[in-house]
């Protein structure tokens, strides 16, 4: 019963996240950029590449480290 409750909670949370991220990625951001027809200035283009770079680094670190953290936490509990 406990795990079922947990799953229900997770389901609600991840539904909210999935829909809001989808909205931002597909409608909100490109929508604004499309309607305004903004042409990137040098500063904005720089920021854009920094965004791509930083996102890559954070995603990479997260992916590389998290499994090890989980592994050690699990080992401690056993």
């Amino acid at each position: 019963m406990d795990s079922n409750k947990q799953l229900l909670k997770d389901a609600k949370l991840c539904t909210r996240w999935a829909f809001s991220l989808t909205f931002v990625f597909i409608f909100l951001f490109p929508g604004i950029m499309f309607i305004t027809g903004y042409e990137y200035s040098l500063a904005f283009f720089k920021g854009w590449t920094y965004l791509a770079f930083i996102w890559l680094i954070i995603a990479g670190l997260y992916t590389a480290i998290r499994p090890w953290v989980e592994y050690y936490i699990e080992k401690k509990q056993v």
Binding site: S3, T22, P30, A52, Q77
Partner: protein, 521 residues
């Protein structure tokens, strides 16, 4: 240009390394490998490993090559649309994944669920869709890798297409899904590392300013520096719609939910989706867009990424790119292979051929299926190549063939009123009418039905949209009219572990284990 020996060496080194790693890990494990372990990795995978594996399964060779091509062609909107348009399916998949986890906690494949939720007809149709998806994706991935190896090292295409599946088949056969998870993790991390190297070199060696000036100098109508690019938007729409099929109908994504702990199942997709976004976004921005900005002389935009890698770091760049590409190929290949094996063992062998098979027998069959399919996939890829079916064409057209199942499947999990009849005819009619619209658009707009006109943006877009509209309309419509209600609770006890007899013996240990899971979860 590298020598063909480099190509063979890379295949050999990675094949031997991962096989060796799997054997060592098997030896160190205390428990014995069982059929259930083989196909579900013990249902105990945490968020970190699961999300790394989702990233690996969704990072195709095409993700690296085609995204750069869109950056080169459409400018900055290309990378964005590639990344955003293919990441939301993984995010949204989190929702259906958790419903499967809740309604059928012991299922092995999503088809097993379909078989109990709907009638036999649906099970067979969905299995057709699923196997088609897995086989096409595997063939595409192997071929993509083979073509890249061939163009970068001059290695024989047929030899490459046959050797690539060999590298991941052997370790998958030994270690099952868990081995594929470990390999996925290492591959994903390597891909991130190599991409970071490339991005850094672009900054250090050329600087963003040079790239920007170069992009500015490209003639006005090419819209390189704005998101308001019409071809970019069109590509984005096709990418969004077309990719639903390749995620929702592909057992390898369901498998990652099935293998996860209850508490990890949904979150892994959200984290995985967000992290995956950065891969095509970064590679296409730093390799594709930059190549255009630096004015690299590139004949075929599809080759922009490897050429840029060479431009950046010479033959070291080429080797790094090749390694990255090969790792993407290997982990997607292994994921697809375990998916095919699970479908054949769960939904054909255990369902129709030998329902009373013992755990031992099931494990043996699983291994045989993995090995024979791994070897057969090499041959199949060669056949597809010989038949002259192009990669980007298949990539774009795939949505039309498999997406018919997306809405019916999702409804089956989430909506108690979905009916067998509505779903069956929804999926089937959706696919058929999508193909008709696709052909008709090509004929009417471009005057002929040919690979070129079918590959045009309009034909693809109309075909894809039709599939969704028709399948959704029929499946929802019939559900509303017939007013049946399905009791999801009745499913709970219908799924069984592959290791029933063994589990009866070791029930005591199992119980203590499940207590652990509760504490951990």
């Amino acid at each position: 240009m590298l020598s063909s020996t480099t190509g063979y060496l890379i295949l050999l080194i990675f094949g031997v390394f991962f096989t060796g790693l799997t054997i060592i890990m098997q030896k160190r494990r205390k428990e014995k490998m069982t059929a259930e372990q083989f196909s579900t990795a013990g249902r105990s995978v945490g968020i970190g490993l699961a999300s790394a594996s989702i990233i690996a399964a969704w990072t195709w060779a095409a993700t690296l090559m085609m995204s750069s091509s869109t950056g080169f062609k459409y400018g900055i909107s290309g990378p964005y649309w590639y990344a955003a348009g293919a990441c939301i399916q993984v995010l949204l998949f989190a929702i259906v994944a958790i419903h499967l986890k809740r309604k059928a906690p012991m299922a092995h494949t999503f088809l097993e669920f379909v078989g109990k939720r709907f009638d036999k007809k649906n099970h067979k149709l969905m299995m057709g869709f699923a196997l088609m998806t897995n086989i096409i994706v595997t063939a595409m991935v192997i071929l993509g890798g083979a073509i890249a190896l061939n163009s970068l090292t001059g290695m024989n295409v047929y030899a490459a297409a046959f050797l690539i599946p060999l590298t991941f088949t052997i370790y998958t056969m030994i270690g099952g899904l868990k081995a594929s998870f470990i390999a996925d993790y290492l591959n994903t991390v390597m891909i991130f590392v190599i991409l970071t190297i490339f991005a850094t070199v672009v900054y250090v060696k050329f600087g963003v300013d040079t790239v920007y000036e170069g992009l500015k100098a490209i003639p006005e109508q090419s819209q390189m520096l704005t998101m308001a690019s019409i071809p970019g938007l069109f590509f984005g729409m096709i990418n969004i719609i077309g990719n639903f099929g390749t995620v929702f109908v592909d057992q390898s994504y369901w498998q990652r939910a099935i293998a996860s702990k209850d508490s990890a199942a949904s979150k892994a997709y959200i984290y995985g989706g967000i992290a995956w976004f950065s891969i095509p976004f970064a590679i296409a921005t730093f390799m594709g867009v930059s190549a255009a900005g630096l004015g690299l002389n590139i004949g075929d935009p599809d080759a922009s990424a490897p050429l840029m890698a060479q431009h950046l770091l010479g033959s070291v760049g080429s080797i790094l790119f090749l390694v990255m590409l090969f790792m993407a190929v290997m982990s997607t290949g292994a994921a697809e292979l375990t998916a095919i094996t699970n479908i054949i063992v769960t939904d054909i062998y255990r369902k129709s051929i030998n329902p009373k098979a013992s755990g031992q027998q099931t494990l043996k069959i699983s291994r045989i299926v993995t090995l024979s399919f791994g070897l057969a996939m090499g041959l199949l890829s060669i056949l597809l190549f010989k038949a002259g079916i192009g990669l980007s064409f298949v990539y774009m057209a795939m949505g039309i063939f498999v997406s018919g199942a997306v809405i019916p499947l999702t409804l089956g999990l989430m909506w108690k009123k979905a009916t067998s009849t509505g779903n069956f005819y929804g999926a089937l009619t959706g696919m058929v009418s999508g193909i008709i619209v696709w052909l008709v658009t090509a004929q009417v707009r471009y005057g002929e039905i040919s690979v070129a006109s079918l590959g045009e943006l309009h034909s693809m877009l109309f075909g894809n949209v039709t599939v969704f509209v028709v399948s959704g309309f029929i499946a929802i419509g019939h559900g509303l009219i017939s007013k049946q209600e399905f009791d999801f609770d009745s499913l709970k006890d219908q799924f069984h572990s592959f290791d029933e007899e063994q589990e009866a013996e070791t029930k005591v240990t199992k119980e203590s284990e499940s207590k652990d899971v509760l504490v951990n979860g």
